[in-house]
Symmetry: C2
Subunit: 337 residues, 2 copies
């Protein structure tokens, strides 16, 4: 039978109002009485009942703005699933979530979204931050004003935020390289294709990949190519690269799965591939044996956690860890078949 404010009030011989003020340090209470109450609370192992607080919090209508960096993308569908699950859970607490879409890597638009969100009385922002001076400056300002900002799946170096949720990109790069090495038996030539380095995570992943190839790999990494976000352009570039490097039979690929699969089909030799992120296209390709493995970074969990952090914060002022790293999972055909 957990202790309640009432229990403490009875034990201390005061009213629950006083106990509440004392424990929440809201002043207006005799210091000696406050001390005694705190003492008692500890002894009686008091922990505020979150659901009761929730019922009260409900009247405050907290709003969370989720600000993306890209139009549409299967990876973000997964993230959104997690966000929606969390959204349902916090609804009873009177909290809500609003999504602000954005054209691909358009920092001006992202900035406007931030401003709109604040105008519309958002109490916190979850953002996939584009690494541009515009956004960096804005987030810096918000942090200075103690406005809660949570980075989701990406981050900005040197810019403080309440929390930053993403995978360990460097490690994720190393895992990709390791898998290629394992699959190849340590002999062969590889190319890595990565998306825009405007997102810092991609830079870090690239470094991890290069780290492994340079130190621990039998097969050699011939090139690292940055692909544009537009699928048609990406396909052309990727196909050309694969045609040009005729000794390359292994690839590590992060981006739109269809782009890679199409390019691989266009050329006339077999390519063994490891992909990042489990889109529907990647899932099918894995089942068919077109690709060897997929590395994914718990997108749903990332989305869920970003909201949950703010929920905890609104409910009980609890600060999350600054950095929350999500696991990278390795998936083979046998994992899903």
């Amino acid at each position: 039978m957990p202790t309640t404010l009432k229990d403490i009030a009875a034990a201390a011989g005061v009213s629950i109002g006083t106990v509440d003020r004392a424990l929440k340090n809201r002043g207006r209470v005799n210091p000696q009485v406050a001390e005694k109450i705190k003492q008692l609370a500890k002894e009686m192992d008091y922990h505020p009942n979150q659901i009761a607080s929730g019922l009260v919090t409900r009247t405050r209508h907290y709003k969370i703005a989720v600000i993306l960096h890209i139009t549409q993308n299967e990876f973000f569908e997964e993230i959104l699933k997690g966000i929606q699950i969390a959204e349902k859970e916090i609804k009873d607490y009177g909290m809500s979530v609003e999504i602000y879409p954005c054209d691909d890597f358009n920092d001006k638009m992202q900035l406007r979204n931030i401003e709109n969100a604040i105008e519309e009385k958002a109490n916190a922002i979850v953002i996939v931050p584009i690494n541009s001076p515009l956004i960096r400056k804005k987030i810096q300002d918000l942090s200075k004003q103690n406005f809660p900002v949570v980075f989701l799946t990406n981050y900005l170096d040197e810019i403080p935020a309440m929390a930053s949720i993403h995978c360990d990109y460097f490690r994720s790069g190393r895992i990709g390289a390791m898998l290629l090495n394992l699959i190849s038996g340590g002999i062969g030539h590889a190319i890595a294709f990565f998306p825009s380095t405007v997102m810092l995570g991609n830079q870090s992943r690239k470094k991890g990949c290069e780290d492994y190839f340079s130190k621990e790999s039998g097969i050699t990494l011939e090139r690292v190519i940055e692909l544009p976000n537009d699928p048609e352009r990406a396909k052309r570039i990727m196909t050309k690269e694969l045609e040009a490097a005729s000794d390359v039979n292994y690839i590590l690929f992060c981006g739109d799965a269809d782009t890679a699969l199409t390019s691989m089909n266009r050329i006339n030799r077999q390519i063994h591939a490891v992909f990042y992120d489990l889109s529907a296209a990647a899932y099918n390709a894995l089942r068919n044996g077109q690709i060897c493995a997929v590395i994914e970074q718990s997108p749903e969990n990332q989305g869920y956690t970003s909201i949950n952090i703010l929920f905890q914060y609104f409910l009980s002022k609890k600060l999350p860890p600054k950095e929350i790293l999500m696991d990278s999972h390795i998936i083979f055909k046998e994992s899903i078949d």
Copy 2:
């Protein structure tokens, strides 16, 4: 602003008591009025506020008994972690968890624990069921009486339960075999060591392993050995097996990690190993390069889910899916380093 009972009451021109009775089908309400209320609830998208219900539920003091099958074991430490997290979450709702330990695979003791739990007014049981007639019969009886039983990390065939939470053992066996095949490059000889087949999951995992080896593997599976739970005896058996089969250089191992590591050290040749379950010993061995990979089955999540299911059930009579399969994760050195 979510709809409340009050809102519906106002819209229907009745009191909230009537609305509540109508929506919960508790009778004592004019069928026509009830129909109208249900209609309104749908239109206004009413969903009961769980936290408000929780405050009321709190007075009912639901108790969950967790009944294990084994004394101690690192895998179950992880399971317990998940259970404890869930326990904290449901405390505010007046629900509690009690653990009943058990000597290794002692079905009589497990039966007594079930009986004790019920005598001590447990409202539900989470159990790692030993596959013995004694336990099978008891659970069968409980199910007939509609007493909620949840199977955790293992199951009983043909015996109904409210839910069954475990990994896909067959798939997990296939993944293990696939990894050995991948690591070996498809050439070599292997032995698989598995724990007691009193637990049905182990039988299924064994089948999965054999399935892959018989159909898709380059390396050959020489034998499958069932090891006893006692580490000293297990070490002797394992060492002897490895010494006898001098051409075997790959093993798939499920059980106490220290047993395997000691046995591998005792013999005079290098063995490449894949382990199940990420114990501290396995973690270190993976980092040191003593073993190649580990397959784990989200034990913490399994424990958490077993409690969470019952929480949902007590709070809102929501029935879980009959079978909840947890992912198997593949972990290499690069995943943790």
